[in-house]
Symmetry: C2
Subunit: 527 residues, 2 copies
Amino acid sequence: MSQITTETATEIESTGTERRRRSGGRGGERTRKPAGGDRYRRLVNRLARTEVLDAEALEHIHDASLTVLEEVGMDIMLPEARARMKAAGADVKEGSDRVRFDRGLILDMIASVPSQFTLHARNPERNLAIGGNNLVFAQIASAPFVADREGGRRAGNQEDYRKLVKLAQCYDIVHCTGGYPVEPVDIHASIRHLDCLADLVLLTDKVFHCYSLGRQRNLDALEIVRIGRGISAEQLEAEPSLFTVINSSSPLRLDGPMLQGIIEMSSRNQVVIMTPFTLAGAMAPVTVAGALVQQNAEALCGIAFSQMVRRGAPVMYGGFTSNVDMKTGAPAFGTPEYMKAVMAGGQLARRYGIPYRTSNTNAANTLDAQAAYESMMSLWALTQGGGNFVLHAAGWTEGGLTASFEKFILDVDMLQMVAEFLTPLDVSPDALALDAIREVGPGGHYFGTGHTLARYESAFYAPILSDWRNFETWTEAGRPTTYDHANRIFKEKLASYERPPIDPAIEEELSTFVARRKQEGGVPTDF
Amino acid sequence: MSQITTETATEIESTGTERRRRSGGRGGERTRKPAGGDRYRRLVNRLARTEVLDAEALEHIHDASLTVLEEVGMDIMLPEARARMKAAGADVKEGSDRVRFDRGLILDMIASVPSQFTLHARNPERNLAIGGNNLVFAQIASAPFVADREGGRRAGNQEDYRKLVKLAQCYDIVHCTGGYPVEPVDIHASIRHLDCLADLVLLTDKVFHCYSLGRQRNLDALEIVRIGRGISAEQLEAEPSLFTVINSSSPLRLDGPMLQGIIEMSSRNQVVIMTPFTLAGAMAPVTVAGALVQQNAEALCGIAFSQMVRRGAPVMYGGFTSNVDMKTGAPAFGTPEYMKAVMAGGQLARRYGIPYRTSNTNAANTLDAQAAYESMMSLWALTQGGGNFVLHAAGWTEGGLTASFEKFILDVDMLQMVAEFLTPLDVSPDALALDAIREVGPGGHYFGTGHTLARYESAFYAPILSDWRNFETWTEAGRPTTYDHANRIFKEKLASYERPPIDPAIEEELSTFVARRKQEGGVPTDF
């Protein structure tokens, strides 16, 4: 199973950004020699991608999206952004938010996006290789509610926020956090980002995200990540270490804080994930192809803008196209339509050579079969579709409204199974087992052979949740379901959590910064 | 969505067997003009297959399996079979069951297997195109137990047997039955096959299976299928209309009744599905590659024997390699190892140009998340791995020990989602929706547009089970799980069951035959 680690170390070494900038440094060194026990820290997907669009169909969607940007344009809700777009050559009308983009301008701009880069964590062994064949899983982000079986579904709060962040630290398959797993509304919005980002530094040693909710929050996050890594502002600018998700307000609009986020993050060479939220039948056309046209127009617009801000800034192409339940208007996830959109999105992202962000989605209200099959369909689509960065990979349920502790465990198990699936099949002479077959012969049994005894302990993936006891034994045990097992396991895992080591000087500097910024009132709010 | 139907009709027309024998006749005509409302009757998988083995690794497994057949050989537990093998050129030792096969003999024999053929049902609209890009789903077979929520888990019986067969008739996505969905042990074994096969003719109009449990049972089944189709023995021999699953007794042994089954079925041009049951670590080497070597040796031996019986007889390559839980020895299904074995098996079957049989498996004891994720992993593997015929596609749970009514419904929903996923994405100008995007513009909404209104009723797959109500509405409804919905739906569906029409003369002939054979005592048993 060590192939995963070895291969990805190579991937990291060969990423474009690394080569271009020669900034691998400390991080680069360490990722080449990963410590033991980190079987899931680096995943490489060497399988051929599944293509749901033929070459002609792909070009139809590409062309149509460029026509949208040329003829319809986007509403760009920030004067500074419109000014930058005008300077780059876009068609900006005075007194209007509407901006139109020549296709040549878009294609020129997106050509400078790096196809691969490294996202740096405060622990270099947690650095992430983004793009190419690399596959990274990020925890759920931004749920307003949190749930476990005993506590039920409740509003997000700091205690649950911290528990979920700790769980993300516990599993190597969760490569990074992805925003606040749940929104802790018991912390005032003016200082919430300070407490939450400090927790992400202290409770984990993995890469994290900052919300683009106004310039000051971006700046605070940039300073916190700089302190956390113990580096200079110059080194931070050379080494992308923070990411932000930018959503367009579909259809065809980019709001002020989002545009500001691109400006602050891209200008400092930090990572922007440009993700339109194009629900077919609601904020996008009711056809999957039409929704993809709109997704692509919005994504390319935001990505092009990141390059207007700074050529070569790291950015990802985000796909989030799904459909709505046409009976109720409720968003649906993990559907056949979602699968096709994920795979087609991957084809578009690869056409442009831009790393591809996807999601592990479902719309279940509890941890039942639906939660599993919708998530598994999402995982199937994004694995075969070539997702590079999977947000909401662990813990997402109820269409993203709820962060579930039990679903987090279910997802960890499913993600680990994806990772095992991606591990190349060993066909060495020893694995072909001709001698064992000769030894056992017709009518024999393999349980006691030397070939089996030498391998049985690590031969197969041992699931966290699957209950493979026979019916009688399972009945004696009280007939536990996956939900029961997940409920037990998340509590056991939390009890085993250990805070990752940190330089006391860094912790002190972080504490001082957060205290000062809180004294200053954080970020003013109108409530 | 009509592409599925149209494309598969073409597939049926272009199958090798059809061309070779020019026997399309009645069946061929009708399948070209499928009736309305049969969206799921024919599935075609036009996606590129996922390959987990590179060309070299595939040859390693191929070579090793031929070495096994040459050097180790198989135990062939029927004198008549050994005599036929000897006549064909195999190395048969007097006074021993062991038979060894030169690789040239094996490769020569399997070269005459048809790569595609049609399996004929008594209703020609239910004919099945086997092989190529065609994908066929068969119901669960051979479970000793049956379960639903109210009745719990109980021994198989005729009432439940009939209910499950009726359910298979109710859904077009279940293309055929696959043996007895549950073993009705309340019917004496001497006449069980007569009652059960008559039910398969009367309660469904789909293709069915016969067990190879001695020559007489095969002969009774052949007569029942001939009567059911209302054709002559000659036409039956020209049109494969019955299939049997032949399991090797792994490792490397074929028992008497199984060999007899190949002889009776292949000699009459009926379909043999040759499926080794190679659990890695138990009846096969503990490595997936080693288990595949053994699977391939056993499968090729049985397939080659079918061609020794009759050149060109239709046969499928069955893959059923999984692993055991090394802590308990319990079989595991729907695992990452199972997925790789399914995909590698598909590569082997395609290398030989033989239709590929797979299964929709899981080892869950109830309808929880595990049942869904293990099944979905199986479906992912067999879809991307190029399965042509999927046994146990609906209703299988607990590692095949139990036929579950609720799991049947869950599987129907998941199979339909696979079918929808395989439907090509529409990228016509109308689907690209440029005019709708122009009309709505930035900041608008698509709910009320003409483009949406014209399509919303059929735009997306409407799942049977997924509960997409919001949390509050779902809570008011009593928080039903997937299990609850499936329990309700199977009862509703059973209540709506209608017996398919049948010629009264055929029904009369069938009844007379079964009565006569019962009077004769059926097939003698020693109990």
